[in-house]
Symmetry: C2
Subunit: 415 residues, 2 copies
């Protein structure tokens, strides 16, 4: 008997999933050991000229109630319809695979529990890193490790923009425009440039590694829209590049620290070589040491690669829950940002050159030993420095005091 | 009921496996959902002072005949005892996990078939790339891809030696000695420096990707012991570094091309940044594009990380074959080396400077357009050049003709 699958959402990832599946169908069927067929493609739009027009439907219930459908790819995105669909499918014992990071980040614990209760699977390899294998490597290959930290360049759009700013001295605004022209950024780029997309991804990785749902709304997240060329230049002269980095780790007392923010990345660090739309994720385990995963973090076929891989795995595990899950979040499980320890780059502007030069020693007495930075054509009333590592609440306090006399232009953490 | 496991071989990897398992036991038990215990450690040596002395045994049949033992880690190496042990265990329905690349490369098809026939598993994540997740990502996460090529820096010892030659201008002999002092190379370094270890690994990756056993004895394999500082210098000036690279791909007519050899790697290629004992593997698929996996390719705990991950997976799949397998090798499946197309760096020495300079045009008329290379203090009787891409049999023919008048000192392929 042939196994049937359905695809919900015929946008970029959905059409890529159908295309890749059909291109490699012979090999896929051989691997699974039985015939497989895409039976339905659900989308509210019409695609009369598509070669798959005969599979197109608009009524979700057809998929839900068709006992032949074993696996559904939810690639429609968002956390409303997608949530209702996914829940209903899992409750009907149909496995769901997805690229929907928002839904996994928000509702992963619940949906994974439902999958377990109904002996089916909720798989989400495509939700982080596009086609880069990362989810399964963490919960399978690295299962023997205590995961000490996961850090990653998780958003291709922002990495493309930063690469243009660093390598071609483009302003943020111009680089964003170029990203939009190339199809790397959406018309409303907020989710990418403000770090929201990366935030969802680091929450998924952290939830997986530490077994408890990390709510994206509860962790600190800042994006790259306020980064100026001045910051790029100071970073460069000091031996750094600026990257948007997500970091999640477990503290010694069992709390989870998670954050997305721009970072000064040492030019010797491998992340400094990750350019354009590429992603890289470094998983630090107490056995493996550092394992790094690198590739195109988004795009039609790379993301489809992960979706199709999950479809195959779900088909192979028909009637068996694979065993990936995490618990609901707990109160007080997160380290508050104020308690994080960071070393921070700060750029300030004074009203005139005298005020700045005279303040150097006052700054140092507040923060401790500062590293003052230079750049070509530094205005006399501008000063940039890197603080020692200290609690962020102390940094915040100091910056509040500074802000009475100078303007705080930038604050970027050091990785 | 508690699940029992056994470890065969208490050397570097075996002791690391026990150590990592015991360190992370609480988390491992939680993940599996039932109690797990190392019941036996088999080694011919005595370890009276080990905290695990009470688990030490010397008789393999105790493990084979104990119905409580579900999973056995074979980390003894070699293809004789290990083969007999593994076969007997799988035939008894016990899963075997291993770091033994020699055995997987030689006997993988047979052992995987036996595992399938007895509803157990033969897992070998640790056989390639140490702790770097690579085997499972290929057959699970990338299962929806047609794998176009896999290339890798697969041997940490040779990469350490080459790094020292490139960055510190050490001779091969001095760098090897340093590797031995650091415990990165064995007293008899043949398997590493002659590429035999990397060859086994590329055969495993190719067998997995292309579904047929690739016999390490049947593919071209050359190591790094004949690489001289002169070659490193020419590479550097021309914008390359020399790395030992394994490559496997499927040709358009369905043959498998597999080879291990030193390569000129462009300094812009990510492999050029992979230094010291690190490994990197690039998998090119028709969906994912390039996915790169990077980390420590050997060592006690990194390799143990992969072994323990496989132990956990085997325990979770008790009574179910996971479905990884490949067929026995077929006659004529391999592209012969003579039919490979390569661009090659060649260094020759003539009896005097006249003979060399006069030959430049003769060389070019044989090979086509050559790129002649320079290095500081090039002797007058030395010449180095890069050929256009051509069949290796043509290159061989040309070099045979050249060898009547000049001495062929080096021949290194361009990646």
């Amino acid at each position: 008997m042939s196994s049937k699958i359905a695809v919900i959402g015929y946008g970029v990832v959905g059409s890529g999933t159908v295309e890749l599946f059909e291109t490699n169908k012979e090999q896929i069927v051989k691997g699974i050991g039985r015939d497989v067929e895409i039976k339905y493609i659900l989308d509210l739009k019409d695609f009369p000229d598509s070669p798959y027009a005969d599979k197109m439907i608009k009524d979700f219930n057809i998929i839900l109630n068709d006992p032949e459908v074993e696996v559904v790819a939810e690639v429609v995105g968002g956390a409303t319809f997608a949530y209702n669909y996914t829940k209903a499918l899992l409750e009907n014992g149909k496995s769901v695979v997805t690229s929907n990071k928002e839904l996994v980040a928000r509702k992963g614990a619940e949906l994974l529990r439902i999958a377990k209760e109904h002996n089916c699977n909720y798989l989400f390899e495509a939700s982080v890193g596009g086609g880069i294998p990362i989810i399964r490597p963490i919960y399978k290959c690295l299962a023997g490790n205590k995961i000490e930290e996961i850090a990653g360049i998780l958003n291709g759009t922002t990495n493309f923009i930063l690469t243009k700013m660093i390598r071609e001295q483009m302003s943020f605004e111009d680089a964003l425009k170029l990203a939009q022209e190339n199809g790397y950024a959406e018309a409303d780029p907020t989710a990418d440039v403000e770090g929201i997309d990366a935030c969802r991804k680091i929450c998924i990785l952290g939830s997986l590694a530490y077994g408890r749902q990390i709510d994206p709304d509860k962790i600190h997240c800042s994006g790259i829209s306020r980064i100026k060329m001045e910051d790029v230049e100071y970073a460069d002269v000091a031996g750094y590049v600026i990257k948007l980095v997500g970091v999640v780790r477990e503290t010694e007392d069992g709390k989870v620290s998670a954050m997305v923010s721009p970072r000064f990345v040492d030019k010797k660090h491998m992340f400094s070589h990750v350019d354009d739309v590429y992603n890289a994720i470094c998983v630090k385990g107490n056995g493996v040491g550092d394992a790094v995963f690198y590739g195109r973090g988004a795009g039609k076929l790379p993301t489809a690669s992960a979706v199709v891989g999950d479809i195959i795995d779900a088909l192979k595990h028909k009637g068996t829950h694979i065993g990936v899950s995490w618990a609901e979040s707990e109160a007080d499980m997160l380290l508050s940002r104020a308690e994080e320890e960071s070393s921070v780059y700060v750029r300030v502007k004074g009203s005139n050159s005298d005020s700045i030069e005279n303040m150097k020693s006052a700054f140092s007495s507040m923060f401790g030993k500062l590293i003052f930075l230079e750049r070509a054509n530094r205005p006399d009333n501008e000063l940039a420095f890197i603080t020692p590592k200290m609690k962020e609440k102390e940094i915040d306090n100091n910056l509040t005091i500074l802000s009475h006399t100078v303007s705080i232009e930038s604050k970027i953490r050091i990785l």
